[in-house]
Amino acid sequence: MTTTTAPTTETAPPPRRGVGAPREDNGMSPRRRTALTGKHLLLIVLSAVSLFPVILVISTALKSEEDVRTNPFGLFSSFSLENLQNAWVVGDFGSYLLNSILLSVPSTLLVVVLSTMAGYTFARLPFRGRSVAFYLVVLGLLVPFFAYMIPLYFQLRGLGLLDTLPGAILVLTSTGVSFGTFFMRAFFSDLPLELEQAARVDGASEWQIFLKVMLPLVSSGAGALGVFTFIQNWNNFLVPLLYLPGGEFRPLTTGLYQFTGGRSLDIGPLAAGTLITIIPVVVLFLLMQRQVAEGFISGAVKG
C-alpha cells in the first residue's frame, strides 16, 4: 500500500479518521485515482439531481414578481424579497408559521415525555398486565393511521375537539407515542442492572432511580426522538387537513396546499411559502443529521 501525493486536489483524501469510514485507507495507483475522480463526478451529478428541487424553491422564492411571471423557473435570474413579503403579508404565512410551531412543539414534547415514561416502564418495571399494555401500544406501529382516521374525525367532533389546537396536538401526539415508546424502551433496556441495584442499596426510591439515575443516561435517545418527532409533526399533512378544517389554526403544510389552488401568478409567493415551510426542517436536519438519521432509521418500523 502506497500513499502518493495527489495530482489533483479533488480526489486526494489525506489519510484521516473519516466520520463514516471505519475502514483503513487503500493505497492508490493512478488508475484508481482516475476511477475515484469519475466516482466523485458521478456523485456530484447525483447530488445535483437530489438537491435540484430545493434549489428551484430557493431560486423562485427570491425572484422579482416580474421575473416570476415571464420566466418562473429560470434559476436565480433576479433577486428580490417581494415574494417573501407577499407570502408573509398577503398569503398569511406568518400565522401559518405560528400555527405550525403551536402544533409541533407541544406535541413533540408530549411524545418525548410520555414515551420516556412508558419506555422505562416497559423496559424495567415488571408488573402484571404490563405485556398486555405493551402489545396495545405496539399495535399502533402496525395499524396505519388510515384505519381509524375517519372515525376519529367524528369522535373529535363529538368531544368538541375538532378544529381546535388541543385536539390536533393530542392526535399528533398519539400518532407518535407508539414508535417513541418502542424507541425509548430500547435505550432503557440497554442500561446495566447493577446501576439500579447499586442505587437501591444506597436507599434510593424507585422514583429517584428513574429520575436521577436512569433518565440522564437516555438523554441522547430522547434528543434523537425529539428531533425526529418534531420533523414528523412539522411535516404532517393529514392531521391538520382532517382535524383543522376551519382554517383558523391552519399550519404551513395545509396552508401551502390551500395556496396551490391559485393561479400561476401566485407562483412567487407560493415558492416563498414553500421556502418558509422547509427552512426549519432543513436547518434542523443539517444541525442534527446524526439524530435525524437515527430516528428515521429506527422509525422505519412505522412504515
Binding site: A21, S205, T253
Partner: protein, 307 residues
C-alpha cells in the same frame, strides 16, 4: 424481552415498581385508548352500518359495504395503481439506493456532503415536494419539458401531471426521488457491518467487484435489504399525501389509489361507512407485511446488526 429484575427482588421493591410503572404508563395508555383503540373499534362499527356523518343511529347493513367494495370497479383500478406504486416504488429506491450506497461506501472526503444531499429530500414535507415537482412537470416552462426540448425530443413533451397516461408515473418518480435517500442511509449503516477482512481476503484472491457484491456484500446486508423492502412495501399500501397533493387522484381517477379513493368517499361524498371500509382494506392488506417487518426487525436487533 429482557426483564432486568431477578427473582430475588424483594416484595417491597416489587410493589414500589408496580406503583411507579402504573403511574408512568397511565397517561400513555389513556391517550392510546382514546385516540387509537376507540376509533379503531369504531372503524369496524362504521363498516357494518350505513353512516352518512349526520345520523346518530345509522342503520345496520351487515357486510354490504364489503360486498360493494368487491364489486366496485374503481376499487380494483385503485388497487392496480397501488400495485404499480408498490412494485416500482419499492424496486427503484432499492436499486438506486444500493448503487448510491456502494458508490459512497469508501468515500471519505466530502462523503458527509453527499450523504446530506441524498438524504435531504426525505425530511422535506410532502406538500413542498409536491409543489416543486409540479413546477418541474409544468407543461410550458417546466424543466422536464425544457430538457426534452434541448435534446430534441419535443415529441415526448407533455403535461406530465395532466396526462392520464403519465400522471401516476410522474408522481411515482417524485416519490422515488424522495425515498431513495432513506434507503441509502440504511444501506450505508448496514455496509458498515460488512466484514472488512473478508473483503480484503477476497480482493487478494482476485475476486472481481460483481462477485464481491453478489457473494460477500449482499448476503451480509440481506436482512437489512429485506427490512427496507418491507418498509417501502407497507408504505405503498397507504400512500396518500403525495398523490393527493400532486393530482388529487386525477386526472379522471388516473392516479387514484385506495387511500385517495377512501378519502374522497368519506370526506367529499359523505359516504363515511364506505370510506372507512376502504381504509380498513388498506389495513388488512398492509398489516401482515408490517407484522413480518416487526419480526424481522426484532431478529435484526437480536443479532446486533440492527439499523
Amino acid at each position: 424481552m429482557s426483564t432486568p429484575i431477578s427473582l430475588t427482588t424483594p416484595k417491597v421493591t416489587r410493589r414500589a415498581q408496580t406503583r411507579l410503572g402504573i403511574a408512568l404508563i397511565s397517561p400513555l395508555m389513556l391517550l392510546v385508548i382514546v385516540f387509537f383503540l376507540f376509533p379503531l373499534g369504531n372503524a369496524i362499527y362504521y363498516s357494518v352500518v350505513d353512516f352518512d356523518g349526520i345520523d346518530p343511529t345509522p342503520a345496520f347493513v351487515g357486510l354490504q359495504n364489503y360486498t360493494r367494495l368487491l364489486t366496485d370497479p374503481e376499487v380494483w383500478h385503485a388497487l392496480g395503481n397501488n400495485a404499480i406504486w408498490i412494485v416500482i416504488g419499492t424496486a427503484a429506491p432499492l436499486l438506486i439506493g444500493l448503487a448510491q450506497a456502494l458508490l459512497l461506501w469508501k468515500v471519505r472526503n466530502a462523503g458527509i456532503f453527499y450523504r446530506l444531499a441524498f438524504f435531504l429530500p426525505y425530511v422535506l414535507p410532502q406538500v413542498a415536494i409536491g409543489i416543486v415537482w409540479g413546477w418541474i412537470y409544468d407543461p410550458v416552462s417546466g424543466w422536464v419539458n425544457k430538457a426534452l426540448h434541448v435534446v430534441g425530443l419535443d415529441q415526448l413533451t407533455t403535461g406530465w401531471l395532466g396526462n392520464p397516461n403519465t400522471a401516476l408515473y410522474a408522481v411515482l418518480v417524485t416519490a422515488i426521488w424522495a425515498t431513495t435517500g432513506f434507503v441509502l442511509i440504511i444501506f450505508l449503516s448496514a455496509l458498515r457491518n460488512v466484514d472488512g477482512a473478508l473483503m480484503d481476503a477476497s480482493r487478494l484472491d482476485g475476486v472481481n467487484a460483481v462477485q464481491q457484491l453478489w457473494y460477500i456484500i449482499l448476503p451480509q446486508i440481506m436482512p437489512v435489504f429485506l427490512m427496507v423492502t418491507t418498509v417501502t412495501l407497507v408504505g405503498g399500501f397507504s400512500v396518500f399525501d403525495i398523490i393527493f397533493i400532486m393530482t388529487g387522484g386525477g386526472p379522471a381517477n388516473a392516479t387514484n389509489v385506495i387511500g385517495t379513493y377512501a378519502y374522497t368517499n368519506a370526506f367529499q361524498l359523505s359516504q363515511i361507512s364506505y370510506g372507512t371500509t376502504l381504509a380498513l382494506l388498506i389495513t388488512a392488506l398492509s398489516v401482515p407485511f408490517a407484522v413480518a417487518l416487526n419480526r424481522l426487525q426484532r431478529r435484526l436487533s437480536l443479532q446486533g446488526t440492527g439499523a
